[in-house]
């Protein structure tokens, strides 16, 4: 039996113990409360951010590229509707299975499947994979038919780059392809707007103007659940299309140029001699840029790569050739400007039996029987080598080099616009010391006088050179993209005021020139040279006489050039083989530069045919056709120019 006293005692104990317990409970409650306070009040911001990170996911939507047109607003790089199939990874239950099914429906090749698996490795579980970028209508409709069997597969209507004039403009416009890690690292604009599947410019204008063309990606913000499934759209910041670009190219002339170059390796460039607008920049052979948009197949790639005529080389600005006789007007001009010769200066060309001799070395004219006594005008007109050997010797390579550079040789015509553009070589004694660490030989000066030896130029440089001679000797700014600030009238008035400026004593010293500044000392010297070029095309015995236009309005002046690929031996000279008898690789390059119309020059052009033989036979006839087309389209171009000016 429990006693009463014990009961009291027990009661006391229980109460005391309860008190301790309650105290402990209150303490623990305090801990929980302070923890809740900590989480919900003190660190609320942190957890709110984490919660939003959990529930909100951003999807980037790809921007559309800007459209590229020619000067006349013909679209040369377009966005085309394409049918695609995307695979939403979070909705796919069995990836291998899905790919297997898709393979049967849309006929995926083994290497394509390999690429898809590689892409999958890199993507996140909620990403969308592009399985095929460009389905045929047949495949697309078949896909829609079997869609219920394909979890996660989505038929998508998208846009992709399309070049309507496929082969004709690839060397100007370039092409696009998937952005590589390098592209993303190199261009901030690409990095900022990167979306899986984004196409970026690889070469040409597409590459140079990528920053303008890409546009800005859009952002769709979705609320998602724990497994990444989209629940609702929160906001959509729409993507913006890239800027549209107008180039200075005339599509029709470009197409004619490509047509003229068909089945040959070569280049044709046409330029406005005042505005510097590049009207045509054709390079042959070409290839289809559309093949690159969705990744080129190995077969197509090999075909392009293994073509002996090198379609990938943009010959207009990355092909380097000895200018040959096309440099003679420049040599003559230099000699006149420095007062080395005057118009009465004559040299006797006596044919192969009596070649030009210097320190025991013999230098021949191209004409077996010789030209006889040659004045400057005749020497240019008939392209006498002996005359220019002598003039070059008297002038010296350094003065020649200075004038050649002044008129556009030896530096990039379009500055850094094209990655592949080469600057070529304009040799001088200093250049040879620095680069080859050798001293200059006089014999090298002599052959530089006829555009052989170390000198290397691009067809676009020759075109610019001709333009700057034809416009009366003023520096212009070549451009491939229409620029509303380039105003013909302003340029012409600038040139007019330069013409009347008193010329400084230092005009013939090495110096930097601003755009539209005069490059010459005496305007008569230029006139003499241009007149000689007129003779070359429009007078009997002129090297391009056969390619002349008889109609006054098409009359042009030009200069042929034949650039030796290998040294001509005495044996070659003896054999005097016809073009067809020489191995292709050993044939001379044919060159021609011209400006038109003669009385009021406006356009310059250069033609190059690789291994085409002589300039007068292979290159000059093309200029005949081109110039007619260029001049026929002149009025139209001027009308557009006025319209554009009025809009601006």
């Amino acid at each position: 039996m429990i006693k009463k006293t014990d009961n009291l005692n027990k009661n006391k104990i229980i109460s005391r113990r309860l008190f301790v317990l309650v105290a402990a409970k209150i303490g623990l409650l305090g801990i929980v409360t302070s923890r809740l306070y900590n989480l919900q009040i003190s660190e609320k911001q942190k957890y709110e951010v984490l919660s939003d990170k959990n529930r909100i996911r951003e999807w980037k939507t790809p921007p559309q590229r800007g459209i590229i047109t020619d000067y006349f607003n013909n679209v040369i790089a377009d966005n085309q509707r394409v049918y695609q199939v995307h695979l939403s990874l979070e909705e796919v239950s069995n990836f291998n299975n899905s790919i297997f099914k898709l393979k049967n429906i849309i006929s995926l090749k083994e290497d394509e499947i390999k690429k898809i698996y590689e892409k999958k490795e890199k993507s996140k579980p909620w990403d969308t994979l592009i399985i095929s970028e460009n389905l045929s209508w047949n495949e697309f409709s078949k896909l829609n038919l079997y869609l219920h069997e394909l979890d996660g597969a989505k038929p998508v209507l998208s846009t992709s780059r399309y070049y309507p004039y496929s082969n004709d403009l690839v060397h100007v416009v370039g092409y696009v392809g998937d952005a590589t890690t390098q592209d993303i690292q190199n261009k901030k604009k690409i990095e900022e707007n990167f979306v899986p599947g984004l196409k970026v410019g690889k070469i040409g204008i597409e590459n140079s103007k990528d920053t303008d063309l890409i546009g800005n990606h859009g952002t769709k913000r979705y609320e998602v659940n724990a497994s990444g499934k989209k629940i609702s759209e929160i906001s959509y910041n729409k993507e913006t299309q890239g800027e549209n670009l107008r180039t200075t190219i005339d599509l029709e002339i470009q197409q004619l140029a490509q047509e003229l170059l068909k089945n040959q390796a070569g280049s044709i460039c046409v330029m406005d001699i005042y505005t510097g607008e590049v009207i045509t920049m054709a390079s042959s052979p070409t290839y289809d840029p559309n093949k690159f948009t969705h990744g080129i197949s190995t077969k197509d790639w090999n075909e392009i790569k293994n073509n002996k005529l090198r379609p990938l080389l943009n010959k207009s600005l990355a092909g380097l050739y000895s200018p040959g006789s096309t440099i003679k007007p420049l040599v003559a001009l230099a000699a006149l400007e420095y007062g080395i010769i005057d118009t009465k200066f004559k040299v006797n060309c006596k044919g192969h039996d009596h070649p030009y001799e210097l320190y025991g070395e013999r230098y021949h004219c191209w004409k077996k029987n010789g030209h006889g006594w040659m004045s400057m005008r005749n020497a240019i007109k008939q392209s006498c080598d002996i005359y220019f050997y002598e003039v070059a010797r008297l002038l010296g390579v350094d003065k020649l080099s200075l004038i050649a550079k002044r008129y556009g040789l030896g530096s990039k015509v379009l500055e850094d616009f094209f990655l592949e553009e080469k600057k070529g070589i304009v040799p001088s004694t200093k250049w040879k010391k620095q680069v080859l660490e050798q001293s200059w030989y006089l014999g090298e000066t002599v052959i530089t006088g006829i555009g052989q030896g170390y000198i290397q130029t691009t067809p676009l440089q020759l075109c610019l050179m001709t333009a700057q001679l034809a416009n009366g000797g003023y520096k212009i700014k070549p451009n491939l993209i229409y620029d509303k600030d380039v105003d013909l009238d302003i340029i012409k008035s600038k040139i007019e005021s330069e013409k009347n400026k008193s010329v400084s004593q230092n005009i013939l010293k090495d110096q930097e020139f601003k755009y539209y500044e005069r490059l010459y000392r005496n305007p008569n010297n230029l006139k003499l040279v241009l007149d000689a070029m007129y003779g070359s095309t429009n007078e009997q015995f002129g090297t391009s006489f056969r390619s002349r236009h008889k109609e006054d309005k098409y009359k042009f002046a030009g200069k042929t050039g034949t650039s030796q690929v290998k040294r001509i031996t005495d044996q070659d000279r003896e054999l005097d083989l016809d073009l067809e008898e020489i191995e292709y690789k050993s044939r001379d390059h044919a060159l021609f530069v011209a400006f038109a119309p003669y009385d009021k020059p406006r356009y310059s052009l250069s033609v190059l045919i690789e291994h085409g033989g002589s300039g007068s036979k292979a290159a000059a006839p093309l200029a005949n056709k081109l110039i007619k087309k260029i001049l026929d389209r002149h009025e139209l171009r001027e009308k557009i120019r006025k319209d554009l000016k009025n809009i601006a």
């Binding site: 923890r35 809740l36 529930r55 724990a226």
Partner: protein, 376 residues
């Protein structure tokens, strides 16, 4: 006469009984109950479907049961205390042979109308059993080895059976409730200190026998970022949900963490997280206050009871209830490892609801028959 007077002192008219009921306690339970229904409703993103319907039904059924069983005389519980305990053990044994497994543990018996979790009943059984055990022991005898060993054995049997299910959380709650009564009965403090030290020493050994998932839970508790998508996921997401709730919460049915399924087990162990996300710090404190009031009322009933059984039971149950609540909340706020312990009344789960309501009905019976001095 003598008989009648003795009857009088121990008999209660129905009116007396109704008067004696602690209505305040009932109201608190009803409020928490309705809060729980709304919370479960929110876990289903505002659809009145499976879980909500089930939970509402169970709450109504067990709440009524609580009311009815309140009129069972407290002496009945006293007399049947050991039977209750033995029944609990038998059911736990039954689980071993006929139990239903779910997600790697075997805890339930199929009773056709519901799956019964005997370990939940054991939580109450151990309190009733210990209350009876210490009811008759003189305070001077409590420190003797006989009276020390007996309850420890009584406690170890169910704990062992529950741990092996495995269900560490419930085992800890059973052990905690048992120890609370042993403490209340007046066992010398030194024993608690000793056993605490022994536990500390044997901790490495205990950890070595834990299941891999239990081990990873404990490791995760110390560093949830160890495996943010695996073991640490629950606690990280729970903290994000509670933290982002802020002062006033995201609003009813607006809890993005639960609505978008970032919260695991949101209708059972993590119901507090959901509630806290939607109603914020203020809501959480209100809920905790309600629980505190409930515990206070239970202690008050114990205080005014005459018998030691009723006192020990009420204090013990109040402590157990506190322990359940504390372990659950501490767990979801990241103060304790995730061990799997439901929040009383709030969490979805029939057995838990049953045992809490049963426990409350015994408390109420102590109140109604407070004048009874059992066994004297």
């Amino acid at each position: 006469m003598i008989l009648s007077t003795s009857l009088n002192s121990n008999s209660y008219s129905f009116i007396d009984k109704l008067r004696a009921i602690d209505y305040f306690l009932i109201i608190i339970v009803a409020i928490i109950g309705s809060m729980s229904v709304f919370s479960i409703y929110s876990t289903e993103s505002g659809n009145f479907s499976f879980y909500t319907k089930n939970h509402l039904t169970r709450f109504l059924v067990f709440f009524s049961m609580f009311f009815v069983l309140s009129f069972v005389r407290v002496s009945f519980w006293y007399r049947q205390a050991y039977i209750f305990y033995i029944l609990g053990i038998l059911l736990l044994l039954l689980v071993i042979f006929f139990g239903i497994s779910a997600s790697g543990s075997k805890r339930w018996i199929n009773l056709f109308i519901m799956n019964l979790q005997p370990s939940e009943l054991m939580k109450i059984a151990i309190i009733v059993c210990f209350a009876r055990y210490y009811h008759r022991i003189q305070s001077s005898d409590i420190q003797s080895y006989k009276y020390l060993l007996q309850p420890i054995i009584l406690l170890l049997i169910p704990c062992y059976l529950v741990i092996t299910q495995p269900d560490l959380g419930t085992a800890i709650l059973i052990a905690g409730s048992g120890l609370a009564i042993i403490w209340l009965a007046g066992l010398n403090l030194k024993y608690f200190i000793y056993s605490g030290l022994i536990l500390l020493v044997s901790l490495p050994f205990v950890i070595s026998i834990l299941k891999p998932y239990q081990k990873s839970r404990i490791l995760t508790f110390f560093n949830p970022d160890r495996d943010p998508l695996g073991a640490g996921y629950q606690i990280i997401q729970s903290k994000i949900a509670i933290g982002s709730g802020g002062l006033l919460g995201k609003g009813f049915l607006q809890g993005t963490q639960s609505y978008l399924e970032f919260l695991p087990e949101k209708h059972t162990d993590f119901i507090f997280t959901l509630f806290s996300e939607e109603f914020g710090f203020v809501g959480s404190m209100l809920l905790i206050l309600l629980y505190a009031l409930l515990i206070y009322r239970i202690i008050r009933i114990g205080f005014s009871s005459r018998s030691f059984f009723a006192k020990l039971y009420c204090y013990g149950f109040a402590s157990a209830l506190f322990l359940y609540i504390f372990v659950n909340i501490a767990m979801v706020v990241g103060l304790l490892p995730i061990v799997g312990a439901p929040l009383p009344i709030m969490s979805y789960g029939g057995s838990s609801m049953l045992s809490i309501m049963l426990g409350l009905s015994i408390v109420m019976s102590c109140k109604i028959y407070s004048r009874d001095s059992i066994g004297n």
